[in-house]
């Protein structure tokens, strides 16, 4: 059809658009020429055959000329096209810009909505990118694995770290790993003439830097020799600490500092980019490792392996499993066959990155899904706006098309406009995302790993750009696809645009967008609702202690002076005396009601796991149970408000080594079911140690987190009984102070003064309230809930705007119809009901689809939920009610407008 038209009606300024067209034009031109020539010759008397021969001969090789012409024309065409394109671009964007300046409200709404939607997505993508997608900041990151030992026989999800003997054995015999490095997060006291400072230290094996692929910034790193017992003490400084504490002075290398009262030589400075995951190492020190030490079943070392090139994690896992199975024959003393069987001691090799990111990867993907939904809802709103506008411009478009405007040019015009808007929206989005990331960094949620690495990278910029380009293109094409589907345009012109009723098709397209929007909002609100309910549930959980009004801080006693190398209880006396004096002095502070201390503060530190033997039970077959083992000072229970039935050991008990212990309710119930634990006897592992007797039973305590079951714990006194060498002297304790002050932190300076006065070399660290510690334990739930709630709120507002927009537009469109109805006697209330009913129909469709979607998708939240089923009927019901109300509310104003329609005026206008 178009071909025929082209030939009938030669058009001016027609641009050949393809090679074929160029060739056809050339042929036509030459054909005309040859025909003309032949006719000329025939007229002069030649026969047609003679004329043809004559002309062809004169012309020469036609194919060569044709190719020559084609080559020239192709070049001409290209240049022409580029010029056209450039001028069209300038024209279209110029027009679009002027058009938008004339309609600032439309432009502002579109830019804001798109900016919000794309910005939220960009921000979460930036977070996901930095935390999950980007490799860890080590040169060898892709080949680093973490090695640990699952012991499901001890505790379902328990995983032990590596033992020293296991390390040397694995390092020597592994076929899949090139090398294995160890690290331990620890703390040390840096003592200067002015003060003692608590520093975050990383104790590492000599090959650590080499394994992760880092070189020192200054000096040297450690070697295996530095790990040997009795090696000259050395240390490296962390980059930031070196800059801040030593002013970045390179001469510090080679000097000596006092670390835990021992002089240590600084041998190097670590590079700025190197750190343990989620740790700001201030001082690096060598681990003490002894290849000749007898094997001990003690797993306290974090192990990083580096895969040989080309070896997969699965292969390394198989290799490690093989080595693990040889442990009993290698170290019969430490790993008995019975132990291996009972604990189901295994090995797990996983990419280091997975271990660092943990469950946050899952949470972030869910959040990305949530903001993507917000973006789609926002986009649906904007699409609706564009459809309404296209409707308003229908006549303009039709006239242009009727006058022969090129569809392509028209598309260019529309796309220029929508691209302009979406790109401005994209810029706004990048700004918003940047702001959001900065806010997040300020809030510093402890549940997000690798937070220090989070920034708005170019990847996030690309995401914002692609999203805005995509949105702009689709929005620009929208009116045209409708055209393509739409009715015959002559009829619109004939109608003269008098009664601009939207066609059913357009209206249903818009309703469909709103239904989709509502459905998405239901899914998102259901997710947010489930999180909020989980959060509520978790807040009502009784942790078994009273966190309010408690200040906590850590004290670290120099090992050299407080842990004398003597046998028996005498070794514990310095620690005991220090803490007794400290407790006494702190208790004398105004407002303080009690003081306690522990080696493992509830919710903050792990309780560890040690065997306990119950008197009267036979353990010859199978291992004794492994339970939490915590050293606690006398005031601990009173200070944390943990209720104790029976009595609590006193300082005198501790001093006398009376062997009085307190156990947790959960432990008592498991060990002595149906019987009173008080008066029973138990003892730790060892060479026939003495029996301890239970004097008190606490209430249930949740020390591992509010979403965990009550802990099984034996609270041992600070000084063990003669013959029970349970633990080394607890030089590192957390002190808890219960105060009547509104802000427990206000007590911190006074407490600090007392600690310093007692011993100048004892630093105070990690001063925080118990409340903060409890909140941190639910940080992941809180984080996910907050972000999902924000996303849900945005979805709600955007959907409200969407449904309001469509309903009020329909009312405007139906004015004539409403006028007629009222003229025929319809009551205002009836008309109002009609409008509200329409809105509710749309809302109901959206809610129905959304509920199905929620049923299908909320399962992904499972691991984040607490005490709520993913299809919790209360939540889904609540969301349904909220959205029905939304549908009714959104219709309220349009319904009122509908009732105000004046039939006389409407009819006159018709």
């Amino acid at each position: 059809m178009s071909n025929g038209r082209d030939e009938k009606r030669p058009r001016l300024f027609r641009l050949p658009t393809s090679r074929r067209r160029l060739r056809r034009d050339i042929d036509r031109e030459l054909h005309f020429h040859i025909e003309g020539r032949i006719e000329e010759l025939v007229a002069s008397g030649l026969t047609r055959e003679q004329a043809e021969r004559e002309v062809t001969q004169r012309f020469g090789d036609m194919a060569v000329v044709r190719d020559q012409l084609e080559e020239i024309d192709t070049r001409t065409h290209r240049r022409h096209e580029f010029g056209e394109w450039r001028s069209a671009l300038t024209r279209d964007f110029g027009q679009a810009f002027r058009g938008l300046v004339l309609r600032p409200a439309f432009a502002a709404v579109v830019v804001l909505t798109l900016g919000l939607g794309i910005g939220a997505t960009t921000a979460i993508y930036a977070l996901l990118d930095a935390v999950v997608l980007r490799p860890l900041p080590y040169p060898n990151a892709s080949r680093l694995v973490y090695i640990e030992h699952p012991v499901p026989g001890v505790e379902t999800n328990a995983k032990w770290r590596m033992s020293q003997a296991g390390y040397f054995f694995f390092r020597k015999n592994s076929k899949a790993l090139e090398d294995i490095a160890l690290f331990n997060k620890t703390e040390a006291s840096l003592v200067t003439p002015d003060e003692a400072e608590r520093v975050r230290a990383a104790a590492v094996s000599g090959n650590f830097f080499e394994v992760v692929g880092a070189r020192p910034l200054l000096g040297r790193t450690f070697t295996d020799a530095d790990n040997r017992p009795n090696a000259t003490p050395v240390a490296m400084l962390g980059y930031a600490f070196w800059r801040q504490r030593f002013n970045g002075d390179p001469r510090v290398v080679g000097t000596s500092v006092s670390l835990g009262s021992v002089p240590v030589t600084i041998v190097g400075v670590a590079p700025a980019t190197l750190d343990l995951p989620d740790y700001q190492t201030q001082v690096w020190i060598p681990l003490e490792l002894d290849p000749n030490a007898p094997a001990v079943n003690s797993h306290y070392l974090d192990a990083i392996g580096r895969l040989r090139p080309g070896v997969t994690v699965a292969a390394a896992q198989a290799d490690a499993a093989r080595l693990t199975s040889h442990l009993p024959e290698e170290f019969p003393g430490a790993y008995t066959a019975g132990f291996m069987r009972e604990s189901r001691f295994g090995v797990l090799v996983s990419p280091l990155r997975d271990v660092v990111i943990g469950t946050m990867s899952h949470t972030l993907w869910i959040l990305l899904g949530a903001v993507a939904i917000v973006m789609l809802i926002a986009f649906a709103n904007v699409a609706n706006l564009f459809l309404v506008r296209a409707e308003a411009r229908r006549r303009e478009t039709d006239i242009r098309l009727a006058l022969g405007a090129d569809r392509l040019h028209l598309a260019g015009h529309y796309i220029a406009e929508s691209l302009l808007l979406s790109l401005i929206g994209g810029m706004l989005a990048v700004g918003l995302a940047y702001g959001a990331i900065q806010c997040l960094l300020v809030l510093n949620p402890s549940s997000v790993p690798r937070l220090a690495e989070v920034s708005l990278g170019w990847q996030a910029g690309v995401v914002a750009l692609v999203l805005s380009l995509g949105a702009g293109t689709v929005l620009g094409l929208l009116p045209l696809t409708r055209r393509a589907l739409g009715r015959d345009r002559v009829s619109t012109l004939r109608e003269g645009g008098r009664t601009q009723t939207a066609s059913r098709g357009q209206l249903s397209a818009r309703s469909a967008l709103v239904v989709a929007q509502m459905a998405l909002a239901v899914v998102l609100l259901a997710a947010a609702g489930l999180m909020v309910r989980s959060f509520q549930r978790i807040r009502t959980v009784q942790p078994g202690f009273d966190a309010s009004g408690v200040l906590t801080f850590e004290v670290s006693l120099p090992y050299s002076r407080y842990a004398p190398y003597v046998r028996g209880p005498a070794a514990y006396l310095p620690v005991f005396r220090y803490h007794r004096d400290l407790a006494q002095q702190l208790a004398a502070l105004p407002g303080v009601t009690s003081v306690g201390m522990t080696q493992a503060l509830a919710m903050k530190d792990g309780d560890g796991c040690a065997s306990v033997f119950i008197k009267g039970k036979d353990y010859s077959r199978g291992n004794p149970p492994c339970v939490g083992t915590v050293v606690a000072g006398p005031g601990y229970f009173a200070t944390l408000g943990i209720p104790v039935r029976g009595r609590v050991p006193t300082w005198a008990d501790v001093d006398d080594q009376s062997g009085a212990v307190v156990v947790s309710k959960a432990l008592a119930e498991r060990m002595w079911p149906g019987d009173d634990a008080i008066g029973k006897e138990l003892r730790p592992n060892g060479n026939n140690p003495p029996w301890y007797h239970v004097v008190g039973v606490t209430g249930d305590v949740l020390t591992h987190g509010l979403d965990q079951p009550p802990s099984e714990i034996v609270y041992y006194p600070m000084v063990p009984m003669e013959g029970a060498p349970l633990w080394s002297p607890p030089t590192h304790m957390t002190v808890a102070i219960r105060t009547r002050a509104t802000d427990p932190l206000s007590l911190a300076p006074a407490a600090r003064r007392i600690v310093t006065a007692l011993d100048r070399e004892v630093p105070v660290a990690n001063v925080q309230t118990m409340q903060t510690i409890v909140e941190q334990s639910t940080a992941r739930t809180t984080f996910a809930m907050l972000l999902l709630a924000v996303a849900g709120g945005m979805a709600l507002v955007l959907s409200a705007v969407g449904i309001y927009g469509v309903i009020s537009y329909t009312v405007a469109q139906r004015r004539p119809e409403i006028g007629v109805r009222m003229a025929l006697g319809a009551q205002a209330a009836q008309v109002g009901r009609m409008v509200v009913a329409q809105s509710l129909r749309v809302a109901a469709a959206g809610i129905a689809i959304g509920l199905l979607g929620a049923f299908a998708t909320t399962r992904v939240l499972q691991s984040l939920l607490f005490g709520v089923s993913p299809t919790d009927p209360v939540t889904l019901g609540g969301v349904t009610i909220v959205l029905v109300m939304l549908g009714a509310l959104a219709a309220y104003a349009p319904a009122r407008r509908a009732t105000k329609v004046d039939p006389v005026e409407v009819l006159r206008r018709e």
């Binding site: 030669p10 020429h33 003309g36 020469g60 012409l69």
Partner: protein, 113 residues
Amino acid sequence: MPDTELDLLRGTLDLLILKTLSWGPMHGLAVLRWIEQVTEQRLQITEGALYPALHRMEQKGWLGADWGYSDRNREAKFYKLTAAGRRQLTAELSKWSRYTEAVNLLIAAQGAR
């Protein structure tokens, strides 16, 4: 043909075409006829030279091309001078007269032996 001759011819051909089209839009055949007529068949120009020249000059922007109908109502491609073509014609004319003057001077000169 040696290069020098071709160059000379091509330069001259451009001039001839520009001058011819200065009388108004023409299709290729008309251009050829006009040159043959006016020069009394003394200049024989082949189609193989004419059409590439026309297209090249179109590319340079000296000529514009539109499709139209010949006097016998056949569809033909009409060429016309653009503003740039007019400027080019002036330049070519002055170049041509300088060139012929120089050649004439040389021919008219007496031997200096």
